[in-house]
């Protein structure tokens, strides 16, 4: 069996079968009852989140658990968590493309879609956290009548450029990959209105050698640019913390540790999406057990690196002998948030170790359990980075605990609903698996 043949069911070696399998949910099948129920539930959850955001806008940040010591709280934890998930899609797509991993073909499209949705959601939180979101445009450089320009030394301005550039770049990268597949949809029999829309966005793509050559050249060039871009984006998020002088934050390991953490949580989300997509869109022939196995190995590797990073952070604190660092460490393991510390270690480091077993790497229930464990563990990590440090900083008179409010919780809940809602809508509009790349794989496998 060739390497390529491992990633496709034999019935998928035919180009027609590939096109039919991927396009059928868009062109031949109506949205089923399950899809509508999922959309309505997601819409309801999004609505609840929107109400919580509305309450925050009307009554201000006093509706959140943030206090004078823990000034960042849920909004920034949510931002870091969502942008982490968002970082993975383009990184997976670009890195696996550059390293010629043929198995990327089945997962890169929805991973990139996940990136765009997650980064868009992440971008909402710093704006909300401003307290006066209507002035968010002050972050951008524009010739104001006051002659005031942005403070370029501020981490908030770094985030603005990092999120904006990354979001737009990911959107271009995603759209570039989509063009040939939109042409496929344009040329298939089906609803005329939709064919017109797909045809317009396909930009008159014909699939001539010159077009393919230009397409492939730009895709590789963008992958080369995307890889350091993705690393820089989450490094900048890491710098938001590391550039300060707080115990637990002044760590030079923060930027790379944040990048791995982002990749880790994003991959966990990709695993969940892959399982849902292969079962609901009947793409078992394209997303094979071998893909699940490969993704589980990635989670195992990233989980092990996370363990090493945590260990390095704890040993560094012990090594310095700084009273504030030692207090911070003791607080992490024995303080009121210690349950989350152990939950974080369980979800991020211990649960992925199950994937040393080849059988468990292919077990759907285990994959779901571990991926959820990672997502929850990574959320705990984001909360702990903020709350542990800010609750017990250098000034004892400022020591105070952070307790999120119901509004905090509902905003997070609502963004989860928004992500699901947008993904469900996207699944009815674009092919979630890149057909032309699967065809390439099929030709190699044949």
């Amino acid at each position: 069996m060739t390497d390529a043949a491992r990633w496709l069911l034999p019935s998928m070696l035919d180009h027609r079968a590939i096109t039919d399998a991927v396009c059928a949910p868009l062109t031949d099948q109506k949205a089923g009852k399950r899809w509508w129920i999922a959309v309505l539930v997601a819409l309801g959850v999004t609505g609840i989140g929107a109400i919580a955001v509305g309450v925050s806008l009307v009554y201000g940040p006093g509706m959140w658990g943030n206090n004078s010591a823990v000034v960042w709280g849920f909004p920034i934890a949510n931002y870091v968590w969502w942008i982490g998930i968002g970082n993975a899609g383009t990184l997976i797509s670009a890195l696996l493309l550059l390293t010629r991993q043929t198995w990327r073909n089945a997962i890169n499209r929805f991973a990139e879609a996940m990136t765009i949705l997650a980064v868009s959601i992440a971008g909402l939180f710093p704006i909300l956290h401003l307290g006066r979101p209507m002035y968010a445009y002050w972050l951008g450089p524009y010739p104001s009548t006051m002659g005031v320009w942005p403070q370029w030394r501020s981490a908030l301005v770094w985030d603005f450029w990092a999120i904006l550039s990354y979001l737009l770049f990911s959107l271009i990268f995603f759209y570039l990959g989509l063009i040939p597949d939109l042409a496929t949809l344009r040329d298939r029999p089906g609803d005329r209105r939709w064919r017109r829309i797909w045809g317009t966005f396909a930009l008159g793509w014909q699939g001539t050698p010159g077009q393919w050559r230009s397409h492939q050249r730009l895709q590789r060039t963008m992958a080369v640019i995307a890889t350091p871009l993705v690393c820089s984006v989450h490094s900048i998020v890491g710098l938001d913390f590391a550039a300060s002088l707080m115990p637990g934050w002044t760590e030079s390991i923060f930027p790379p540790y944040f990048v791995v953490g982002a990749y880790f949580s994003g991959f966990a989300m990709v695993v969940l999406l892959a399982l849902v997509i292969r079962s609901t869109l009947h793409l078992e022939g394209v997303i094979r057990p071998n893909h699940l196995d490969a993704m589980a190995k990635m989670l195992l590797a990233a989980g092990s690196i996370m363990l090493l990073s945590y260990g390095s952070e704890w040993v560094s604190s012990l090594w310095t002998g700084e009273a504030a660092d030692l207090r911070f460490l003791q607080f992490s393991f024995t303080g009121p948030y210690s349950g989350m510390t152990y939950g974080m270690i369980l979800g991020n480091c211990l649960m992925p170790q199950l994937f040393w077993s080849p059988a468990l790497r292919r077990s759907v229930p285990v994959l779901v359990l571990v991926a959820l464990g990672v997502l929850v563990g990574m959320y705990f990590e984001r909360i702990l980075i903020l709350c542990n440090t800010l609750s017990i900083g250098y000034e004892p008179t400022m020591w105070t605990l952070y307790v999120p409010t119901i509004v905090d919780g509902l905003i997070l809940f609502g963004t989860g609903g928004l992500f699901v809602l947008l993904f469900l809508l996207l699944s009815r509009v674009i092919p979630l698996v890149p057909m032309y790349e699967i065809r390439e794989l099929a030709e190699t496998a044949r």
Binding site: Y166, T184, Q216, L218, P228, I236
Partner: protein
């Protein structure tokens, strides 16, 4: 009136073989369409090399330009003493230009790609050929020019021998 012979192939290997045979037979290849990226040596169109260079050059230019803009705003237009840090704090001034440069490279690359691949032509003569519809899905299509006064039988035979699953002659 010119005549074209169109051959549709189910697989890449047969398509390549047909293109090579047509070249050997001195036939003029008018068009090639495929549902996946393929390299056919010199057959086809010009190189796509400039796209990468355009993207990189635009990215570098945008990054340098943006750095200059930041320097101007922070040291000339709005000098602001933030905790005694130097007005020209170059390490942190690098962050936004790097991000912006990457974005500019992506945008420039996309524009270069659209121009180079001759896109945005939503109505093109090739779309009148029914074969092209399947070239985005499951067929590799080769169009060969027929000689003046030729009925196309020889070209059709060449295509059939190379493994075409369907072939026909069209006049335009």
């Amino acid at each position: 009136m010119t005549a074209l012979a169109l051959g549709s192939f189910a697989h890449e290997a047969a398509f390549r073989e047909a293109a090579a045979q047509a070249e050997d037979a001195g036939r003029r290849i008018v068009g090639l369409w495929s549902p996946m990226p393929i390299e056919l040596g010199d057959i086809g169109e010009e190189t796509a090399q400039p796209i990468a260079w355009i993207a990189i050059a635009a990215g570098l230019l945008a990054a340098v330009g943006f750095y200059g803009f930041i320097w101007w705003t922070a040291t000339q237009a709005y000098p602001f003493d933030s905790g005694g840090r130097p007005l020209h704090s170059w390490p942190v001034f690098l962050i936004a230009p790097i991000e912006f440069g990457a974005l500019a490279a992506g945008i420039a690359g996309m524009i270069a790609f659209i121009v180079r691949a001759r896109l945005t032509r939503l109505h093109d003569g090739a779309f009148d050929l029914v074969e092209i519809e399947r070239a985005s899905s499951d067929r590799f299509v080769l169009a060969l020019a027929c000689d003046e006064g030729e009925d196309g039988a020889a070209v059709i035979r060449l295509l059939a021998e190379a493994g075409a699953v369907h072939s026909r002659v069209v006049t335009r």
